[in-house]
């Protein structure tokens, strides 16, 4: 192994690590706010990437029908509640988001020709289709279980994951897809070729992380999410709706997932079930951060990316073994150094 190979592997590890870091942040966010270990996080990666790929080959992505279908289900639930309680105002807002919005999206995509749109518009359209799925899943599946135990929420997450993977196979088929790169540029940095797409991934991840930081530190919504994460009961007493906080965190998680998928689709082949593995590696990063600390989780995720890259050079057959075995010493170290406080549930 000479210096050039080491640099190339390092570059590859950082690019993958940046994606894992984004997913680790989303996992920490969802867990902190709602206590849900969000296993379906990876599915949003696949949905984002494959929705964009469908646009590029001029097909109507199946996620559009998922959006319409989930929207109708949410609307039925909301109408049921509204007729019982007589709360009309909330119903109007719910119908706007869950019926009118998917309907408009469907009309635009079915009448327009997504294959001919410029890349930026395609990316925006893919995000517009996938991101609302997050809050809808929360409304349908998790909101009725808000006060359930972490274990119940985990089991439900496994079910949602399996359902979404199955839908992914139905929508996109068994074979993978790639999308056109954002940039064909190739830079020569000290004898190491860096592709434009790799810079895009690292750059976009960094920007997203900064945006998230500003969101949590400066905006009212971000502060509400943090308050909910620190103390749910306290936050509710201060007038913060934990339901809204849950929906918002799911929207953010879906947005981060879909954006990650769109970023990696040009550099690797994405399959309907690719997201799970990427999500798991993000999860390893999140575990390093104890599912609580954002910077440590992001650092852990980059470490996973680097470890993966170098172990694929030295012992490619054992790569996954090495990456997932890292959890064990980390858990041992964490259980020895942190004092565990039994949370009231």
């Amino acid at each position: 192994m000479d210096l050039q190979i080491a640099l190339l592997l390092g570059q590859d590890g950082i690019v993958n690590g940046a994606i894992y870091a984004l997913l680790a942040l989303a996992l920490v966010l969802v867990f902190a706010v709602t206590r849900i270990i969000f296993i379906p996080q990876g599915e949003f990666v696949a949905f984002g990437a494959l929705t964009l790929a469908s646009f590029q080959v001029g097909r109507v992505p199946g996620t559009l029908w998922l959006l319409v279908g989930l929207g109708v289900l949410v609307a039925v639930v909301e109408i049921g509640i509204a007729t019982r309680n007589g709360t009309l105002r909330r119903l109007v807002s719910a119908l706007t988001w869950n019926v009118a919005y998917p309907a408009v999206a469907a009309i635009i995509i079915l009448l327009g020709e997504p294959g001919t749109w410029p890349l930026v518009v395609q990316v925006a359209a893919a995000l517009a289709l996938v991101v609302p799925l997050g809050p809808m899943v929360y409304r349908l599946v998790y909101q009725p279980l808000q006060s359930a135990s972490v274990l119940v929420l985990l089991i439900v997450s496994v079910a949602v994951h399996l359902a979404l993977v199955g839908l992914g196979l139905l929508f996109f088929g068994a074979e993978g897809s790639r999308t056109t790169p954002f940039s064909d540029a190739r830079l020569d940095v000290g004898g190491v070729v860096v592709t434009g797409q790799a810079l895009w991934v690292v750059g976009a991840s960094a920007v997203l992380i900064v945006v998230l930081y500003v969101f949590f530190e400066r905006s009212l919504w971000g502060k509400a999410l943090r308050a909910t994460a620190i103390n749910r009961t306290g936050a509710r007493l201060m007038g913060i709706s934990t339901t809204q906080a849950g929906k918002l965190s799911f929207a953010l998680a879906a947005a981060i997932g879909a954006a990650s998928g769109i970023l990696i689709a040009p550099i690797t082949t994405v399959y309907y079930d690719t997201g799970f593995m990427i999500g798991l590696k993000g999860f390893v990063g999140a575990i390093v951060g104890g599912l609580a600390s954002y910077p440590v989780a992001a650092g852990g995720a980059v470490l996973v990316g680097l470890l993966e890259s170098y172990s694929s050079f030295w012992a490619s057959a054992f790569k996954e073994v090495i990456v997932f075995t890292v959890i064990i010493p980390v858990l041992v170290w964490r259980s020895l150094t942190t004092r565990h406080v039994e949370e009231e549930e």
Binding site: L8, D12, K319
Partner: protein
């Protein structure tokens, strides 16, 4: 009142079990899970298969095993105990097929696998008496690759394959033949089907400077190593296995796969075969039938394995009917004997000559070398 549906159900159940003149074929395919890209065309193929053979009605009972060994065994158990099938077809992949052998032998029901490994029809195992298969053995495909490499004056080879039974099976067969023919394997790497990057493996292969690289993967996941090699500027020869012989592979790999060589069943390039080749007619019939239903350019070699299995049955069932009635133990034994006795049956993948020691029955005519040229398969 409540008894009515129960009674109706009982009558229906008896009606089914007394309709023994029908021949029941239990089919288990991996239409979901990691092998879905192979299982889906197989499942599609059964919808096009004849529903009467030699005047007997054929019922295909199709179940999905989700590429999972346990489900495959569950399916075949259901076939032999509940459905009382006369023959089982499946499964799509090697681990599932291997696990099903025990049940087939125990129930004395013939089974035709659609998976690749030669271990499925290793006749030194007495249970394999009941088991046949339609896809070519890896060893036949490996020898085709080695011959092509030698013809292209390749001396050193880099190998990168799936970190599963498919990649290992290929490595074992390929390394054996390569060694015998003085072809040196200078790098041997593994990757996972869902990996998002193979830079590490590719750099290691390139550091060993092989004359050619063999990628042992199936379907679109086999495109990633080749695309990474191209991106890093590897300029040697590229070889793939017959696992990539579908349209999606070319779609995903694009221009990076131009000039790639691979062995495949003749059905892949049916239209380019010489008219004198008897396989051409059978292969074209299948291709035309499949594309008429599922669209142009959708045929893959995997679906043809399913069609070949039914073709074997179409030749064996008339023979078996002479000695026994469908639905009986005697019929299953007669059907097994009939399949083992098949000679010169033309399948879409080759000419079959079964024998007690060869439950595949293919010879050199079952594979061709193919090159990818301007986004299409070109017979070499």
């Amino acid at each position: 009142m409540k008894l009515k549906p129960v009674a109706a159900g009982l009558i229906a159940a008896f009606a089914v079990s007394f309709a023994y003149a029908d021949i029941n074929v239990g089919v288990t395919v991996s239409a979901t899970g990691p092998a879905a890209s192979l299982g889906i065309p197989e499942k599609n193929t059964f919808a096009l298969m004849p529903t009467t053979i030699a005047g007997q009605k054929i019922n295909y009972i199709i179940l999905d095993d989700a590429s999972d060994t346990t489900s495959a065994v569950k399916n075949i158990r259901k076939f032999v105990t509940e459905d009382k099938v006369d023959v089982v077809v499946g499964s799509t992949i090697t681990p599932n097929s291997l696990a099903m052998i025990d049940v087939a032998a125990e129930a004395e029901t013939p089974m035709i696998s659609m998976a690749a490994s030669s271990r499925i029809v290793d006749t030194s195992n007495p249970k394999v008496k009941w088991v046949f298969k339609t896809p070519q053995n890896d060893v036949q495909m490996s020898s085709a690759i080695v011959e092509s490499m030698l013809a292209n004056k390749v001396q050193t080879v880099g190998f990168i394959g799936f970190a599963d039974a498919y990649g290992e099976g290929w490595y074992n067969e390929f390394s054996k033949i390569a060694e015998a023919r003085n072809l040196k394997i200078v790098a041997s790497e593994r990757y996972n089907r869902g990996d998002t990057s193979v830079t590490g493996q590719v750099l290691k292969i390139m550091a060993a400077r092989p004359d050619a690289v063999l990628v042992a993967g199936a379907g679109t996941p086999a495109a990633l190593p080749q695309k990474t090699l191209k991106e890093r500027g590897y300029s040697g020869l590229y070889y793939q296995t017959h696992g990539v012989a579908n349209k999606d592979f070319i779609r995903v790999c694009g221009a990076d796969c131009e000039g790639t060589l691979l062995p495949a069943g003749p059905v892949l390039v049916a239209a380019q075969l010489p008219d004198s080749n008897p396989i051409k007619k059978v292969a074209m019939d299948y291709t035309n039938k499949y594309e008429a239903t599922y669209g142009k350019g959708t045929t893959s070699t995997f679906g043809a394995h399913a069609a070949d299995a039914v073709n074997l049955l179409a030749h064996a069932i008339p023979v078996a009917l002479k000695t026994a009635k469908p639905g009986t133990k005697e019929f299953r034994a007669a059907l097994r004997d009939a399949i083992e006795g098949l000679k010169d049956v033309t399948n879409a993948h080759g000419i079959v000559n079964m024998s007690p020691t060869d439950h595949l029955g293919f010879d050199q005519r079952s594979r061709v070398m193919v090159k990818i040229e301007s986004g299409a398969w070109k017979l070499q």
